[in-house]
Symmetry: C2
Subunit: 464 residues, 2 copies
Amino acid sequence: MERMKIAALFADQEQLDGKEVTVCGWARTIRDMKTFGFIELNDGSCFKNLQVVMSADELNNYKEIAGQNVGAALIVRGAVVLTPEAKQPLEVKASSIEVEGKSTPDYPLQKKRHSVEFLRTIQHLRPRTNLFSATFRVRSVAAYAIHEFFQSRGFVYVHTPIITGSDCEGAGEMFQVTTLDLNDVPRTEDGQVDYSKDFFGKKTSLTVSGQLNAENFAMAFGDVYTFGPTFRAENSNTQRHAAEFWMIEPEMAFTDLAGDMDVAEAMIKHIIRRVLERCPDEINFFNSFVDKGLKERLTHVMTSDFGRVSYTEAVEILKQHNDQFDFKVDWGTDLQTEHERFLTEQVFKRPVFVTDYPAEIKAFYMRMNDDGKTVAAADCLVPGIGEIIGGSQREERLEVLEERIRQLGMNPEDYWWYCDLRRYGSCKHAGFGLGFERMVMYLTGVSNIRDVELHPRTVGNAEF
Amino acid sequence: MERMKIAALFADQEQLDGKEVTVCGWARTIRDMKTFGFIELNDGSCFKNLQVVMSADELNNYKEIAGQNVGAALIVRGAVVLTPEAKQPLEVKASSIEVEGKSTPDYPLQKKRHSVEFLRTIQHLRPRTNLFSATFRVRSVAAYAIHEFFQSRGFVYVHTPIITGSDCEGAGEMFQVTTLDLNDVPRTEDGQVDYSKDFFGKKTSLTVSGQLNAENFAMAFGDVYTFGPTFRAENSNTQRHAAEFWMIEPEMAFTDLAGDMDVAEAMIKHIIRRVLERCPDEINFFNSFVDKGLKERLTHVMTSDFGRVSYTEAVEILKQHNDQFDFKVDWGTDLQTEHERFLTEQVFKRPVFVTDYPAEIKAFYMRMNDDGKTVAAADCLVPGIGEIIGGSQREERLEVLEERIRQLGMNPEDYWWYCDLRRYGSCKHAGFGLGFERMVMYLTGVSNIRDVELHPRTVGNAEF
């Protein structure tokens, strides 16, 4: 008999009443009531477990099955019985159960609450818990929603390089990539590392952002987006930083900062909508056990018109509340999470874009405004977290860009191809970056980035 | 007036006849006929150019526009005119044209044929050519088709780690990832590299495959897939090898080798179908200018039932033709591309899975068959290229797996978490790997991997 997934069982329950089915999965609980028993079976196709009822009369190997350990892999055959009066809408009355793979009493995921810290030591097994089952399912649905969003709008998906030869991206500390033997590093005559002997013939690193490369593509395809891993070798041991994380970076030609914000807002709403639609059980779980305000917050964000306020106006507002902040705000200072959250939670009570930051605290490629002091940047702040997206209109004027590069002590020639885009058919364009793990944390209420990645990489941790 | 993309113009042409529109894009050609002129405008939203007609009578700045250089970014306003009798179905009669960004006479992409070798030196501009516009659009559509395929079947998308601490994946030479200062490598007391000082506190590398990690996930979610970058530090300078490339690796619980092949076959057909549907202009272009047999070959693959033959049978067939091969075939030898292509092109005349290879030439994790000599592997061979997919049923029996690991001189303890999957609720499972660039090459007829990646990384090359 062909195997049926539990998700399909729940979806087609009306047609299945009384029908024989075969279901494969792992036992989450096994209760032996001597002449009958219950198994909660999960096959990973959905968040919910299937209740399997077995009776000693009908099941030849009742004793063997009842004696199995939690975590065993089972193949269950039996009839679907609708149970509209019970907690679960249906159960399967087993006529035969086969043990595909045993488990043992030392199986680490016994039926009890485990700390997330303990679960991080068994990252290969933690996807079998409710918390991680729900988290990684939301992660997958959110990732697909992002592709859906951009593809349906005609954006071209681009894989920007992971290994980069330019150490001038400037967005953070980089990991070096090498095939040199560290026990015997080759040297040039003047004693320096001889990178001509390295794989690429030069020093290379892991990318911190695909943006500059994405601009190459936007100047041909108009609208493009990246979705790939990026890296930061920063020695920061916080809940929100990992050395390896995924980023989405759209880049749009003939688009200004207002258009950039429109797309960012629509994208966030689309992701939330899809997750609420496709993961109702998961969101209910998070709302009950992880973050009581989650569902309300997500629904609120999905239905709000995002506010827009300039940095200068925002600073004026925040300065009036400086007594409440650890870091006092004044024009020219970067906004801290406490300020961002105050703005979005207390002042606007909805997501808000803060625009036009001082040039000094933003990257060289952001477009200089006519005031000569601020750049056309827009950070999106959301309740409960602060900044979730950073974007900007890019400097499309060759002379202004080269001047900015020089001001920062860099050499425009190192950016020859980036400057070429401004030499041949330059146009106004804009883009933004969304840290995918931050988005998943926001969608689930999970507060530590180590718990939204399969095998997180942080200082001192590269297990599995 | 709101900007309209050229793709939308072609799609909605009936409703747009006579309407005023605004179009933004880059001039591919500009022809000045003194009192009137033509511009081929491309905005990247589709493969096709838009023909813009300008007349000196109606256009104040006719001379300026006619004097622009190819590659300039223009904003065109004008009326749509349907031209059913002409080569192109419509044109826009310009009432105003604004120069958003000039180009210069030294713009490298003048209207002429450029060699792919030359275009590799201007990777930031080559997406503006027909060849690369078509290639990267197919790449994006194929990537999305893969997500569609797996998501519609309930597979969970998983991001397996890029940085890995295990140098025992065994699939190829690895790049080292480090934050140690190569000018001053720290040493332990016995003179070895002191990796406790490295970022992760141990030696780390770039992953060559996400498979082992994906199995962790499959044992919880049932059906999962990866789609991410992988790396090989192999010093091979061929048309088919790059140091950085993307892989798709599905992994399915409660699935045997036959089920694995079913999914692989359905996936390939789905990708081809979507690309033929969504990229007709691009495929016609490739079929005319890159590979005359492309469309026929793709259609044939999409509509064929893939053959299945065991390695042992395949060797029997091939041995009869050993006089035609550079490498003679005998049981136990690995199949070369010449043999693979002979099988799929001459013998089967359609795609074919070769199954059950000798254990010696396959990886340790593949399931040992009852004969004790062969493993449950399946490589998919396609006409025109040879192997495109490598898959296998995985060894789910703990003792057999540990024995295989020991036989290869490795230590099962280094694979403790991988073995754990066989300790707790093990089940038959299978998966495969598709090299994404190989698939894009197959879909386009482009023969060099350097021309299907935005910025390819190969020995000695990490520019851009």
